[in-house]
Structures are given as structure tokens and as C-alpha cells.
Point group: C2
Chain length 201, copies 2
């Protein structure tokens, strides 16, 4: 778009919006127009919300979650089981597990997975702190809730080896048929894993 | 998501992002996480860009375009043909025509189309100003660049009737085969229009 059309301020807004995941150049333009049209209802509140989040949001020094306090709300929650620690790759995974309301546990966010091709090594992950937390004692079980991808499983193996010395019980998520899934549409790997791990009815 | 996970500030940011077109609740969460992770490179600049746009962007009193000045850059551009006026539904359409670099003309943004079902009547559109601009003289031709939808065409007919008294030449965009389009995939209406409006080779 020639810069003369919309002025550099709008151009800049579009460029920054286009860097959000899920928005391309075209949808960023639509989003910018929506913001401009809904100035009072959306644009001002969003500017304020981003400013506040920018100021206050911090990464929890204990688990790696993002929150406005450090330690984060989850780490400070006295009702949570302290003996169960769920290791996730990313904050998004932590949120997904919390949405599922699946475990009353504490978390540890690695901040990525080992990926030699992308140059991500053990030092780039939040692993030292994980070992330290387990070594401090009080944790009976570490659940590796990592993605069922090659990188995720490589990381899981690495973490297992790393924690072997501490003697803590390390478990991983079950593989199997997704709830609501149809066998016909599942890949062979999942079907094989589901048969291998079959449970009594 | 239970509000205890991410804190009300992040929650609020996600809610506002989810109101942008093209972002649902899930992609808004991803966008919020991206913002938090790229605080320096993306979050601060975006907050600043939205704040500046919020302060400075205004609607041009002449044509209805959005810009940081009133009259807007297009209305003030002395190199533009003043005798040709292109009527569009929305600022996004104006931007699309400018991107195509198709006409060195001025614009008039209606701000919508007549839609009795949605309760949009002539008073909701920027029509009075359009008639006034044409009545002021100096405009030889009004091009109705409205969407080829029922609402768009209804509006085109209404605008034509409205401008009949001024005696200005009113034209509309050609219907036909889109450039790069294959006949096999086109609907009957477009094909019929293309045959009716065939041109000498």
C-alpha cells in the first residue's frame, strides 16, 4: 500500500498487528480499521490493557508461568498439591491443562523443547531450576506433559535422564484414542499405542 | 479459563484481542502470549502505536477516509484528478483501490450499504455530503465502486437516483471474468454478465 493512503501512524499499527500470530497483512489491515472505527469501545481499552500488561506481567521465577506476581498465583496457591509437578513446554500448554481442570498440581514451564536443528540445547530451557526444585524435596511425582512430537519426546527422555539421580517418580501422559475420536480417522501410531496400552473394561 | 491462572490483566488483554476480526478466543490467547514473550520487540511498540493512532487518527470531513489530518492526504493531494469521484462502501475498499493504483481520483466513503434488514437506512450513510460535493461542481463523473452484492447494488441504484438531479455522469465498475480466473469455476451470473458486456478483441 502506498504510504500516502493511510498515514505513517496507521501503517505502523498495521505492521505491528501483522506480527501477531494468526494475523497476516490483510487481516492486520482489517483489525486496524476495526480498532479505528471502535475507538472508544475497543481501541482505548486495548491500548490501556497492553500498557498495563506490559508494565505488570512478569515471568514466575519458580515455575516459568507468566503472571503479574512472582511467585505466580499457581505457585502461591496453598490448596494445590505440592507433591505433584507437571512439566510443560510452554505457558500455552499450562493454560490448556488448567482449562481442562485436570490436576490440582504445580507446574514447571520449560520454555521450549530440545531441537538441535533449531539450535535449542539444554541450556536454553528452564531445566536447571527444574532439577533444583526436585532436589529441594517434597515432590513425589513429575508428570512430563510434553507434546507427542519428536522434539517433545526427545526432551522427555532428556528430562527423565536428568531426574534419574534424584530418584523421583517420572511419568508421562498416556497415548491413545482421543475422547470423541473415530478409529477410522486415526493414524497407525496412535492406534498401535492405544492397543498396546489397553485397559480392563 | 479460570481467572486464577493468568491474572485479571492478562485475561482482560485476551478478551480485548478476541474482539479483533480474525482472532477467536484461542488465537487471542496465542496473540497475548506472543505479546508477553516479545515485550520489547512487539508489546511496547504496539501499545505506543495504538496510543498514537488513538490520539491522532480522525475521519476526513470531506470524503470519510481515516487519516491523521482533516482533510485527509488524498483530499489534499493536488496531483489528483478532481473531476473524478469514486464512491466506495468502506475505507477498506478505498485502500484496496489505492493498492491497485487504479485511478488518480478522489474518493467518497459511504460508511456502509443500505440494508433494511440490518436497519441501515439512507440517513446512516455519508450521502448528504456526497450530494453536496457533487452540487459544488467540478466533478464530471462519479464511479460507484460498490460491492457486487444485493446490498451494494441496491445502494448503487439509490445513489444514482439521488444524483440524477445534479446531471453528473454516474458509472459503475464492469462485471466480468476476474483476471486470472478460469471460466469453469465461475458462476452463471458472472459468465452471463461477461458475455453481455463483451468487447471487441
Amino acid at each position: 500500500m502506498p504510504s500516502s493512503v493511510a498515514g505513517p501512524e496507521i501503517e505502523r499499527l498495521i505492521q505491528l498487528l501483522a506480527r501477531l500470530p494468526g494475523l497476516g497483512p490483510r487481516s492486520a489491515r482489517r483489525a486496524a480499521l476495526t480498532l479505528i472505527k471502535k475507538r472508544e469501545q475497543l481501541m482505548s481499552p486495548l491500548a490501556e490493557a497492553i500498557r498495563i500488561a506490559c508494565e505488570r506481567v512478569t515471568v514466575c521465577g519458580t515455575c516459568g508461568n507468566v503472571d503479574t506476581s512472582d511467585p505466580c498465583t499457581l505457585c502461591r496457591d496453598p490448596r494445590r498439591e505440592t507433591s505433584l509437578l507437571i512439566v510443560v513446554e510452554d505457558v500455552a500448554d499450562l493454560w490448556a491443562l488448567e482449562r481442562a481442570n485436570v490436576a490440582n498440581a504445580r507446574y514447571h514451564v520449560l520454555g521450549g523443547t530440545l531441537s538441535p536443528l533449531d539450535g535449542v540445547g539444554p541450556d536454553d530451557l528452564n531445566l536447571e531450576r527444574l532439577v533444583a526444585r526436585v532436589a529441594e524435596g517434597g515432590i513425589a511425582e513429575v508428570v512430563l506433559a510434553l507434546n507427542a512430537t519428536v522434539d517433545g519426546q526427545t526432551t522427555a527422555h532428556y528430562v527423565t535422564d536428568l531426574l534419574a539421580a534424584t530418584g523421583v517418580k517420572v511419568t508421562k501422559l498416556a497415548h491413545g484414542v482421543p475422547v470423541g475420536g473415530e478409529l477410522d480417522y486415526l493414524d497407525e501410531g496412535t492406534l498401535a499405542a492405544a492397543v498396546r496400552s489397553r485397559t480392563p473394561f
